[in-house]
Symmetry: C2
Subunit: 353 residues, 2 copies
DNA sequence: GCAGTTAATGAATCGCATG
DNA sequence: CCATGCGATTCATTAACTG
């Protein structure tokens, strides 16, 4: 069921419908036994293959390339005889013919992600302030503007750039709920009270007071301890320090603290989380730590390798490798490589009636 | 000269060219003698009338209605015999037939604002996270994507709303430079170092250190005192407290601290600032305090009245009232009212050859 | 002056009337 | 009926006031 039509849309020459890979060309992903799974393949096919199965996700997180026009590299560190040796390896390619080409691909993936969501679930799309605006107009088309929940601003600190402009120190996370009519999964989190509030009211919760004439009076102090202020949509979380233990060397790695907030607020234990651009596996690691089931998708075997190592370092052995096969010739090389690497392949049953 | 064509655009049924009021229908605003001026009239006409004149602005600030679908009210306070009496008066109407109608009007004003900018000047458009994305796509069309400078996030603290979502606690300010090839007006401002940085490095400035093989070493501490970190694009500034002295009662009033940052960073003394939605006159007050010339435009005589009082409380007597006249019948009542109120009317010479 | 106390409110949100 | 509107409810926030 598509959302109500949105009169204001993005237009570009030759804009086509967003692709929905036909079911006939896919092997559908089965519900797996393990609570953390890795899917190797094109994420458009993978999202469609998952959507054709019976499972529904409470959170789909997408951290696509930001249309930077660059090829991003993975910094691999190893111990050589002269100390630590750094090797630069290509990780993912963020070069596109044009903005419209980028948006065409992104839109298809957003659409397939939506199909995979539970009615109480949500999509979180992680972008930067240059692409977020185009992405939001696309999302409004796909989900309906009513489904827009939050623009979360992730504010971080970094080494300043020499520029005649304000330093860019934030990313944007767009959150859409699948169905605005359904009560969404949401756990209220709190942040510390502002210093000025704490000074005036201490740690007690306040209560609004209205007199007989309907006018506001001074709020009263209650016995209850305040849990803090309900969490806002601007999050001050530091980027992964160059020497941090969680750092993998994979480019554009996101901090676990950021993902933990999202996962805690938007899902409950045992819910399914899908990360369509898995990368170094931050989402999977956080999901496992917080007792959520998770599936990570990535096209790059190197990314999956890093994720697999990271998970096993956490003692998570139960994850499986699986591979989305498209029957088309294009993905045959992946399939052959998978066979050579001894990866099991999962296929799945039909969508419930 | 229009910017390079942008292939990705917003489309809606019946989208028309953005209106540029024909010069023949306008009386053009003259450069005024006073450093703070008020213009009463429709801001589209007023921006066009200013653009047809000789002056160029280094900052055009626009704080339009946010497409809230509501009529906003002004809380007027006066001293009655039973204490303070509050009266609710309509201030501005933010009800629209549709999003496209809103965007059509907004786009015309953005376009006229651009025409008025100095090559080293910039536009700042203040919106909320629901409209910012549409507004940015429009601005990219009008200015060219290259002219996009910053998405500034204004983060404030407010009473919590009871909602199954992250609390919305930020506004968005989109900044575009007039000409990306020209060195923009920009004064580097600083913010306090992060606590973790101050702990490690104290108040001294750091210097990057690179060894003979081109590898980064631990940075060195310099003698120089650090001025802080170059100001970022996420600003934590409190809203105007219910009991603050600067509060006028006019709805959606912006804090002076916010405007002061913008004005200091984006203009130099004696530069011209134009506020197309002047409201209670915050921009004018700040501009005057910082020694910038300023013109405020508003359609509402009540808004101008509040601004005039606010300015005269600051000892600024030199401001003039002027009125943009359109020769069309539609604005005749305004003109008649202006005459009745004894307001002088400024008209101006032609654009320079 | 400084520190502790007081005051006022919402570019909110929700839910029940009203056509 | 299903939009729309208006009235009731919310409590963290911070400048001004008081002693």
């Amino acid at each position: 069921m598509p959302p109500a039509d949105h009169a204001v849309r993005l237009a570009w020459p030759g804009r086509a419908e967003f692709a929905r890979p036909p079911l006939a060309t896919l092997k559908v992903v089965q519900p797996g036994a393990a609570s953390t799974r890795l899917v190797w393949g094109d994420n458009l096919s993978a999202l469609a293959a998952l959507g054709a199965g019976q499972e529904r996700a409470h959170l789909v997180y997408m951290d696509p390339p930001f249309f930077t026009g660059r090829e991003h590299t993975h910094v691999e560190r190893s111990r050589g005889k002269d100390g630590i040796v750094r090797r630069l390896l290509p990780a993912f390619d963020d070069r596109w013919g044009s903005l419209q080409e980028y948006l065409q691909e992104l839109g298809s993936r957003i659409q397939s992600a939506r199909d995979l969501l539970d009615p109480a679930g949500c999509l979180v799309l992680h972008v930067d302030p240059k692409t977020s605006h185009y992405a939001k107009v696309l999302c409004d088309e796909i989900f309906g503007a009513q489904a827009f929940a939050s623009e979360i601003v992730w504010r971080y600190r970094r080494w300043p750039a020499k520029t005649k402009n304000f330093q860019r120190v934030h990313d944007v996370l767009l959150r859409y709920v699948r169905d605005p009519e359904t009560e969404p999964r949401f756990k209220q989190l709190y942040e510390p009270l502002a210093p000025s509030t704490a000074k005036t009211w201490g740690k007690s919760r306040q209560r609004a007071v209205v007199d007989a004439r309907g006018r506001r009076r001074r709020s009263s102090v209650t016995e209850e301890a305040s849990p803090g202020a309900p969490l806002g949509d601007v999050w001050d979380i530091s980027i992964i320090a160059p020497v941090a233990r969680e750092r993998t060397g994979y480019p554009t790695q996101k901090p676990e603290a950021l993902m933990a907030r999202l996962v805690e607020a938007c899902t409950a234990p045992d819910d399914l989380i899908v990360d369509a651009y898995c990368g170094s596996g931050t989402t999977l690691a956080v999901a496992a730590r917080l007792g959520r089931r998770a599936i990570g998708i990535d096209q790059s075997p190197q990314a999956l390798e890093i994720s697999r190592k990271r998970l096993s370092a956490l003692g998570i052995q139960a994850q499986e490798e699986c591979l989305v096969l498209q029957k088309r010739e294009r993905l045959r090389p992946l399939a052959r490589a998978a066979g050579a690497a001894g990866l099991p392949v999962l296929v799945a049953g039909p969508r419930p009636a």
